[in-house]
């Protein structure tokens, strides 16, 4: 399933004194199996953009096409299409409301009109995906859980709808490093098992090892788009937007300037480590 944004412009409170344009002529195509990282500064329009992907916001002008079909055209069942694009909002734990974890996760599938047995197996699967133990957690109140667990329950609630595209808006915001690594690991697994992923983030270090493509946004426009290696090569551009590059890329550049024989476009810790070990061996240090 592909999602295409064509010349999408979005203006908040159009026609009033508080009018502000959040998106300007955005063109973006999300292909099957991609892992897109949407990065940009606070207020650059990332969150507005992702709400267009499942039709929660209607573009002021331009089109959103899902498999070539206009999302806001006539005779389009938006609810049905919406279920294929699972959107996890920022701080999703604030949307939990049911008495038990299992029932909260079942909310989405129930709205899809599935049978009880199908709902049950989906809840099991979603909890397993999110590393939540069904036996110990499913009958507890979601409000008794820890912050990280609540976050994972909320994401499970979206996963249980088994969307083809999963959109996550800052899924690691406000989590401790362990909770963050856990969520990122799960997202990586989901992508491996065939889900298309769009992840909004402002942390370059979070997205660098995961994304197949990075889309950089600045002031409502797409400033750059490409493979991580190409994006992180444009350090000056990234820094002018106020984003910078991953720490590994910065360290790599500093070491190159000191005269170490390292390739130009390294950006993950693993890559850098492998190359440093190689250099160490060559020099007979280890």
């Amino acid at each position: 399933m592909s999602i295409e944004l064509r010349d999408v412009t979005y203006t908040y409170s159009e026609g009033s004194a508080f009018q502000s344009t959040a998106l300007k002529n955005v063109n973006l195509t999300i292909h099957d199996g991609e892992f897109i990282a949407l990065v940009g500064h606070t207020g650059c329009g990332k969150s507005t953009l992702v709400q267009h992907l499942n039709g929660l916001l209607k573009p002021s002008s331009g089109q959103v096409l899902i498999d070539g079909q206009d999302l806001h055209g006539e005779n389009v069942d938006r609810r049905k299409l919406r279920q294929q694009v699972g959107l996890v909002f920022q701080y999703p734990e604030y949307q939990l409301f049911e008495e038990t974890v299992a029932r909260d996760i079942a909310f989405g599938p129930r709205n899809q009109g599935l049978s009880d047995s199908e709902i049950d197996s989906r809840v099991h699967r979603a909890m397993a995906h999110m590393h939540l133990n069904y036996d110990t957690l499913s009958q507890r109140s979601p409000f008794e859980l820890s912050g990280g667990q609540m976050r994972r329950v909320a994401i499970a609630g979206v996963l249980a709808m088994e969307p083809k595209v999963l959109v996550l808006d800052e899924p690691t915001a406000g989590l401790d490093p362990r909770g963050r690594d856990r969520i990122l690991g799960i997202v990586k697994e989901l992508h491996r098992s065939g889900t298309t992923v769009v992840m909004v983030s402002h942390s370059m270090d979070d997205v660098a090892p995961l994304a197949t493509r990075i889309v950089v946004m600045s002031q409502g426009e797409i400033a750059a788009s490409g493979a991580p290696r190409e994006i992180f090569r444009q350090r000056a551009l990234m820094e002018s937007i106020g984003l910078g590059v991953p720490e590994a890329a910065r360290l790599n550049q500093a070491l190159r300037e000191k005269g170490l024989d390292l390739p130009e476009a390294l950006y993950t810790q693993e890559e850098l480590l492998t190359h440093l070990l190689r250099l160490g061996k060559e020099a007979g240090l280890c």
């Binding site: 908040y12 409170s13 709400q51 499942n54 929660l56 609810r79 919406r82 279920q83 699972g86 959107l87 909002f89 999703p92 604030y94 949307q95 939990l96 409301f97 909310f107 989405g108 709205n111 899809q112 409000f143 609630g157 979206v158 709808m161």
Partner: protein, 272 residues
């Protein structure tokens, strides 16, 4: 969608009326309400209309904005007018058709009651349009502070008012966000009968209440940690001062009331 709702309809411009002391404005508004009830004839309403017109142009608020405040009341107005018109039985019969009878007393009351309602709304909205919610609760607190002698919690009341007003936009934003999040999970807030719709509100209301309580707890903690201990001995950031303009405003309203009283004495009973 939810952002379009305007609450606390403050009209943010700078004008002599906006700058008046909120205490004086509250008192003058009460005086205006009394004046509206003193009116005997259409001439009196004319006087009030002229006064409101001048005040709104001084306040740089389009009279249309002021008049818009009456719009939500149109059903109550129509009801008031019709009930008084048809169900007053005293006075001379002017018109009669089947079971409907209109008397001159009925017509008189219908016109007066509906005009009174209209002017009540316009005068009070002039207060809320020209006074920011913060100033309003400050003014109210100071006006009520003499009642502290009988242990009336004036400061606490004003504080609650300003906190409530402060959180209206925040809660609206929160509602919008939760609504979208649940819609992303396939919730449907728009279709179905009344019961289905009421049930559909649960996924919205539960998170909203949870977050409101959480916010209230956080706010209480933040106030505590900055040593908030209520109104006693507390000084204020904006010290309210009664200026020359305030006295001029008082004189104007007093003049209006004097005119209306004179109108009541001079114009014979029975006029519209």
């Amino acid at each position: 969608m939810l952002k379009d709702i305007t609450l606390g309809q403050y009209y943010p411009v700078d004008s002599p009326v906006h700058r008046l002391d909120p205490r004086i404005k509250i008192v003058l508004t009460i005086a205006m309400i009394v004046a509206v009830f003193l009116v005997h004839s259409l001439i009196g309403y004319g006087l009030i209309l002229i006064f409101l017109f001048i005040t709104s142009s001084l306040a740089r608020i389009p009279f249309k904005t002021l008049a818009k405040g009456v719009k939500p009341l149109r059903f109550i107005l129509a009801l008031t007018f019709l009930l008084n018109l048809f169900f007053t039985t005293t006075g001379q019969v002017l018109f009669s058709w089947q079971f409907l009878t209109v008397t001159d007393d009925g017509l008189h009351q219908a016109v007066h009651f509906s005009l009174r309602l209209v002017f009540l709304v316009i005068s009070t909205s002039l207060l809320t349009l020209t006074t920011s919610p913060i100033m309003l609760s400050d003014g109210l607190e100071l006006l009520l502070s003499p009642l502290k002698v009988i242990h009336f919690p004036a400061h606490e009341l004003a504080m609650m008012m300003s906190i409530a007003l402060r959180f209206i936009p925040t809660l609206l934003e929160e509602t919008d966000k939760i609504m979208k999040a649940q819609m992303a999970r396939g919730a449907d807030f728009e279709s179905g009968n009344l019961i289905a719709r009421a049930k559909a509100m649960i996924p919205l209301l539960v998170p909203l209440f949870v977050s409101a309580f959480r916010r209230a707890g956080d706010l209480a903690m933040a106030m505590e940690s900055r040593c908030y201990h209520g109104g006693e001995g507390r000084t204020r950031l904006r010290v309210l001062k009664v200026t020359r303009n305030d006295w001029i405003a008082c004189l104007c309203v007093a003049g209006l009331i004097a005119l209306i009283v004179a109108e009541g004495l001079l114009i014979p009973e029975g006029w519209l």
